[in-house]
């Protein structure tokens, strides 16, 4: 059966050249980059080459890159690390309603420690209003954390404008660029961010490597204490294999980005057009144009996302859903709800995230297998029954 992987937002497929580099490093064997001997110096060289490549992807200086084990850890280091570093300056932090749990949950921890957090809302496209961020600033505000792009609905936020209004108020901006970096052009200086999180598995690198950009002059208190790796900002023997993979993936993303995103956009638009034509009662979610190139996010009314996902899986198609039933907490995606999507409609959430391997044949295949699945589930659905009766009446 055809295997179509359209869940690159959960973890991208590995770039063949990244896999190749990692395989060759596996064969070579890697020592500890802190060691003074030859094998250690070679390991250090691999580490610093990767750092340079990741810095290059986002216009940063190498020493501004702190490697972590995931995007989640990078967000934790940014949020808790800056909160601890600046707690004597103030205890107020700004964020948005649609951040990832790796931003929201650390903030909840901080609230329990006496920090206060203001969450700015989003519009129906999932866009944060820079003016709302500006209004949220108090004399106590130490930083804001707003995502550059949302991984569930694909919306790209006006980070440059948000950084602009915050700069006037001398508030640092951390951007969770995990879903964005490597997929759209991201330059820390153009954006004006003080800190920014990335994750290799979002741009065809491996899981196991993330990075936090920390602008020179911005302080973060380490969240993992021990040795003096990563300039004293993150202890622990480095996962050099994953880090080297991240570096290579960053280099390739920078090089191949225009080509990749053109292809992704046209395939994504083709899939969107086919599905909206062949399936009725589909709601597109997220911003219609200001969005990640490979992301198609929608809600199929009268059916539940997990059921569609499982039937698609039986046809070899891998996607994700933000329905309550697919989440471990049994709550519908807070992102969809924050955008004002009706809770019942949100149950039909599906996210198709295309990657560099996606082909026209994949799109054709999904466009072919999806409508009968929806139809079958709707035939089973007591909600659709009502609608079809209403339509008939």
């Amino acid at each position: 059966m055809r295997q179509v992987y359209l869940d690159n937002s959960s973890a991208t497929s590995l770039h063949p050249k990244v896999a190749e580099l990692m395989a060759s490093l596996l064969k070579e064997g890697l020592a500890n980059p802190s060691s003074l001997h030859g094998p250690g110096r070679r390991a250090k060289e691999v580490l610093e080459e990767a750092r340079g490549r990741v810095a290059g992807l986002i216009g940063a200086k190498p020493e501004e890159i702190v490697f972590t084990s995931s995007g989640t850890e990078a967000n934790n280091l940014a949020i808790k690390g800056m909160a601890m570093a600046y707690k004597d300056k103030g205890r107020h932090i700004i964020t948005s309603d649609i951040e990832h749990f790796s931003v929201l949950n650390p903030l909840t921890r901080l609230e329990k420690m006496g920090f206060s957090v203001t969450k700015v809302p989003v519009d129906s496209n999932g866009v944060v209003d820079p003016a709302a961020v500006e209004r949220a600033v108090t004399p106590e505000t130490i930083f804001a954390s707003i995502m550059l792009a949302n991984g569930e609905v694909g919306t790209i936020e006006p980070i440059k404008d948000i950084a602009g209004v915050l700069k006037k108020k001398k508030v640092i901006l951390h951007a969770d660029a995990i879903a964005a970096a490597g997929n759209i052009p991201v330059d820390v200086n153009e954006l004006g961010v003080g800190a920014m999180s990335l994750s290799a598995n979002q741009f065809h690198g491996p899981s196991g490597a993330g990075a936090l950009f920390v602008r020179n002059g911005v302080r973060v208190r380490p969240q993992i204490d021990g040795g003096v790796q990563e300039g004293g900002r993150r202890a622990g023997t480095e996962d050099l294999l994953a880090i080297a993979g991240m570096g290579k993936a960053a280099e390739l993303a920078a090089k191949e980005m225009p080509e990749r995103s053109n292809k992704l956009r046209s395939l994504r638009d083709a899939l969107r057009d086919r599905l909206t034509k062949d399936v009725d009662f589909i709601h597109l979610t997220g911003h219609p144009t200001q969005r990640l190139p490979g992301s198609l996010s929608l809600c199929v009314e009268f059916v539940e996302g997990e059921s569609v996902l499982l039937f698609l899986d039986m046809q070899g198609v891998a996607v994700t859903s933000g329905s309550a039933c697919t989440s471990k907490a049994l709550k519908a995606s807070h992102v969809l709800l924050a955008m004002g999507v009706d809770a019942a409609v949100a149950q039909g959430s599906l996210h198709f995230s295309l990657g560099m391997n996606t082909t026209k044949e994949d799109v054709d295949y999904v466009a072919k297998v999806m409508p009968p699945i929806v139809d079958r589930l709707r035939q089973m659905s007591p909600l659709y029954e009502k609608v079809s009766k209403e339509v008939k009446a």
Partner: protein, 148 residues
């Protein structure tokens, strides 16, 4: 491959039994809430106090569809009294178990059976079951909206 669901759940989900409506149903019960992700509607046909036929329609996840399918299988051919004894645990066990966070689907199936029988009894005797507030909704509130 280790999925969230047992093979039996997947089999019932992929090919559910008794899907559809009964035009001449003697009792119809609908439980659940679309915002929480699951609605089950159950139809029963009763002859001489025995459930001779049953159908369901379900909006929900794999477990919701599979438990609906299994619930209808379990009550078919049973007397109304025996059908009322089919518990959510029985449904879940018949499916080879459910993931913990999906047990509420089996609760919904139990409630759907009771709602359909309640409707049948109301129609035939004028007096339904003394159904408690949906335990499903209840659990919902208790856990501060954490679970639907």
């Amino acid at each position: 491959m280790s999925g969230p669901y047992s093979d039996k759940v997947m089999a019932h989900f992929a090919n559910p039994h008794n899907v559809g409506e009964l035009n001449d149903a003697d009792g119809i019960g609908e439980v659940g809430n679309p915002a929480c992700g699951d609605i089950m509607k159950m139809y029963i046909k009763v002859k001489d106090n025995v459930i001779v036929d049953t159908r369901f329609k379900t909006f929900g996840c794999g477990a919701a569809i599979a438990t609906s399918s299994m619930a209808t299988d379990l009550i078919k051919g049973k007397t109304v009294d025996d059908a009322l004894k089919v518990t959510n645990k029985a449904v879940a066990e018949a499916l080879g178990g459910l993931p913990k966070q999906k047990m509420h689907c089996s609760v919904l199936a139990e409630e759907a059976i009771q709602a359909a029988i309640d409707d049948y009894l109301k129609k035939t005797t004028g007096k339904g079951l003394n159904l408690k507030e949906s335990s499903h909704e209840h659990a919902h509130e208790e856990e501060e909206g954490h679970e639907c």
